[in-house]
Symmetry: C2
Subunit: 229 residues, 2 copies
DNA sequence: AAAAGGTATTTTGAATACACTGTACAAAAA
DNA sequence: TTTTTGTACAGTGTATTCAAAATACCTTTT
């Protein structure tokens, strides 16, 4: 486990700061799947008492990021290929729903935002900074989610996306796929401009399925490496 | 607030017992939307200390059943018509996905279970016991969820269904709709037997949309009553 | 050397204690 | 009468303490 440090948003209760800190640490891989989350240890490391740590862990538990076994404590949940398939199966239909709703509801301002997001994505696509690319990609999709006007849907999609966050950066390193990402984003914008639900949903579907392919390949690779140790 | 009592599953940690207890109390309406959840009060009422209460509230918070405001505490979240529409918008596509997967994957044993569930549903449909009817209805749909083989999807659907749990019993009191419920369930079984995805998804779609209609009507009625007080 | 058992240590579970904040109510000033 | 300010109280936020369970380690026995 890397050294952790509190995200110090001074106004929030400590438990929320701890929650965000741990969450990010898990999603970025600073704390690895299978690793134990020990309360005293974390409390010392973050300079707080066990209470906020415990409350943060309760939330992580419900989010599925950690697995609790009573009287033994929490470990970081590990994602199997099966899990990933299940998540993506769900994600595809929700992304299609989001695209459909966005096609119906998107307004000029949101359209502009989307184009800006595309531009920023293109600007970083050839840089050697997977983190930045990933974050611009997310920003693009966030614009679409926003346009749906359905906050529940946004929540769910963010949560589902989060589940594969750990593998996100890895698959972006696969240079060959980057330009097809841009292509697909352009197609999405075109569909949204024409309010063409059929083609919009079709594009997003292949977009996600492509992603699935690559992520699962990476997962297998990683597993092979890890397994051979 | 009605008198609460712990669901005393002796083996689970107290925090989980408290969590389940509070959750059920919220979903059944024993604790009403807008009501404050005061830690000391709940602790006294349930005969435990504040610690497990707080940890339970953290989980309820993440589930969206309570809303926290820092230094003021938690209140039970109230569901607006808008919220309900958003939930149903999502639920429709997930129910359709579930039906599609079930059509593809359901096996003989599961099919038998489904028919049993239908039979039990029919057995109670004319009784004057909305709770029982509701639970048999749930059992039927659970069979379908089970057949999808996608645990993530099951989780999500259970959670979405839960969000309208409070209005469930009310709308079942509407006698006229009961028999169309049975009709629709029969149609679903037929579709599953023929593995006819198109008709299966179409039936479930109208099933949910009908439900939406009735629930929203009830919501308006309830609001009118509540508003006039 | 391997297995079994017992003790010490670590860690979680729950309760309690203390600190801080917001709110309500009352008293004083305008 | 209205506004302001101060004080008491109620409730949350965090830390600490105590209890019980799990784990690790060491000893003993076969």
């Amino acid at each position: 486990m890397k050294d952790l440090q509190l995200n110090s948003n001074a106004m929030l209760p400590l438990r929320d700061v701890v929650f965000q800190t741990l969450r990010e640490a898990i999603l970025t891989g600073d704390i690895e799947p299978g690793e134990r989350l020990m309360e005293i240890h974390l409390a010392n490391q973050l300079g707080v008492s066990r209470t906020p740590i415990r409350e943060a862990i309760r939330k992580l538990e419900l989010e599925g990021l950690v697995v609790m076994t009573p009287r033994k404590g929490a470990i970081v949940a590990s994602i199997t290929e099966e899990d990933l398939k299940e998540v993506l199966e769900v994600r595809v239909v929700l992304e299609m729903l989001a695209m459909e709703l966005a096609c119906k509801k998107i307004n000029g301002e949101q359209m502009d935002g989307l184009k800006r997001a595309l531009k920023e994505f293109q600007d970083v696509i050839d840089l050697d900074d997977p983190n930045k690319i990933a974050s611009k990609d997310e920003a693009f999709h966030d614009c679409i989610y926003q346009a749906t006007g359905n906050s529940k849907l946004m929540n769910l999609l963010n949560n589902l996306r989060e589940q594969m966050y750990r593998y996100r950066v890895e698959y972006i390193k696969d240079i060959s796929s980057r330009h097809s990402l841009v292509e697909e984003h352009i197609l999405m914008i075109e569909a949204l401009e024409k309010r063409d639900i059929a083609s919009g949903t079709s594009v997003i579907k292949t977009h996600i399925l492509n992603q699935q392919e690559r992520i699962i390949q990476n997962l297998r690779k990683e597993k092979a490496i890890h397994g051979s140790k």
